[in-house]
Symmetry: C2
Subunit: 323 residues, 2 copies
């Protein structure tokens, strides 16, 4: 036990002193859902809050990874350090893309100011959202100026990019159904910056007008999300994308909205931790020698009411002192 | 209030009597996270447990939707009714695919034995997993013989296909990185049936050997997942896919494993309901006039320890009687 604590201390110390292997090891612990990761995060927490978190989201095929790569170059040109987390809940099935990222990103491998990490299911089903949050804290404590978090799509309750990042960049393709569908679903609201990527495909202006018209119909916002046309593969328009992100950052800081966003983020993380704990408590009640556990185990046909069982589990936990 | 209850009663009655509009309305309530949906599910629960649940999963582009469409035809030819739920957490960004599904599936629109529904985020962020579970219960109570649930990839803790379905069909493409990545990640274990789709691309035999070799290395299983080669677009090998599913069903039934799987499914659902409740309780504590809520609201720099805050929320709930 003493040994374990000594290892954690030294890992935290190494991470804070800028040891990249310590960072990689710590993120692996988070990905493996090792309890040491949470202890590490708690320990380095006083050194966090300095990184600026940028989310890149959009449908598969819109070129998010290529854009991330191009943005890394711009960020480095501006003398900031950067960490990239590519989150793929469906990995390893999209392992090709992850592999592609690594190859594409390899031009940055000798640059100590760039740290890139793909996070997938790794055979450990579940826990990816918690692992990602921990990885962000670790990169923040490690001292990165900017953290780019790349995710596929939105609408996943557990890993909602808009509750994790300071600025959300929504990547669309010209003339794709995406833009229309996004407008219908009111998803445009999560975007702080729009990027219409792959402008060489044509139709980018039409897509821009579509988005502008949709925004015109919505409620007036204090921040009007800019629409940037880019070709990440040709590295065109990337500086403009980054300028738009920085403009949003300036707006958030000056308006005081940044603090509010970060409070929301902290609240979401606490809620997720409480939910995870409740889930594990429920598992113990159901697996244990309890009336409700026996009922489920003896059930043969699936006709029990799950809502009533959930109530029973909650009652059981309450009678045990609510822990 | 009396009016509300009367409406629910009649909706449940209509659904159980086979009214397709009642079913569609009920699933919409689930998708909208309307509390009436949970009440409906609780009410129709005694009529569930008869449908056989088949999950179709795999990377984007492997042809899951086309396979689902082809399977529907085979299932109908064998005189069974079928419900299809296409779950897309990243929708509406992949709205094109959903639209494509509808067009492709349109040949079934006049067939009362087929009910098809896409479930996406619909602008309501979060809750998709709960909505999907409810939709499955509703289709089950409606009397469908078979329910096909199509999801993208695996590794999402909330919506784990293997905890939702009786038989999991893993769809791969020949010679894709998917197969190799799946083997590395130990994801093969979730598959009850493998389908190597798009055999016209070539390389299917090589992929089959790859999977066979990997399975040979793993622990001996009582059920050895068959590998079926198919071309969903050409409707080749589809009857064999369905035969493999039925063979797995026979194995589960005869070995008694089906009851265990369904207990696991019920347990997972109860755990998810408890976690959702805890999340909402935590939100109330954090938004309320509590010490921990004030601490988060007054925080300006994000340096609070989320684990310590989660503990505080749990203590607060315990002191309120654990509800």
């Amino acid at each position: 036990m003493g040994g374990t604590i000594r290892i954690e201390m030294s890992l935290a110390g190494a991470l804070l002193s800028g040891d990249v292997r310590a960072l990689a090891r710590a993120i692996s612990l988070a990905e493996d859902r090792d309890p040491q990761a949470s202890q590490l995060v708690a320990e380095v927490q006083p050194h966090t809050g300095n990184a600026y978190l940028v989310g890149l989201t959009g449908a598969p095929g819109t070129g998010k990874s290529t854009l991330a790569d191009a943005l890394v170059k711009v960020i480095r040109d501006r003398q900031q350090t950067v960490g990239v987390i590519a989150v793929d809940p469906s990995s390893p099935f999209t392992g090709g893309a992850v592999l592609g990222d690594r190859i594409r990103m390899s031009r940055h491998t000798l640059d100590k100011g760039v740290f890139i990490r793909s996070m997938g299911a790794r055979g450990h089903l579940g826990g990816l959202a918690a692992a990602t949050r921990e990885a962000i804290h670790l990169l923040d404590a490690y001292g990165r100026d900017v953290i780019l978090v790349e995710t596929v799509g939105v609408g996943q309750s557990e890993l909602e990019i808009s509750t994790i990042c300071d600025t959300v960049v929504l990547v669309l393709m010209p003339e794709s159904g995406d833009a229309v569908q996004s407008i219908k679903a009111g998803i445009l609201e999560i975007a702080d910056v729009f990027v219409i990527n792959k402008t060489d495909l044509g139709g980018a202006e039409k897509t821009r007008r579509l988005i502008q018209d949709a925004m015109g119909l919505g409620p007036k916002q204090a921040w009007r999300a800019p629409i940037v046309l880019a070709s990440a593969a040709k590295e065109e328009g990337i500086a403009q994308v980054w300028d738009a992100v920085r403009a949003h950052q300036a707006y958030l800081t000056e308006s005081g909205t940044l603090a509010t966003r970060r409070q929301q983020r902290l609240k979401q993380e606490v809620m997720a931790l409480v939910a995870d704990r409740a889930r594990e408590d429920a598992r113990r009640v159901l697996d244990g020698d309890t009336a409700v556990g026996r009922r489920v185990r003896e059930n043969q046909n699936g006709k029990l009411n799950p809502y009533a069982l959930a109530e029973e589990v909650l009652d059981q936990r309450a009678s045990q002192g609510g822990s």
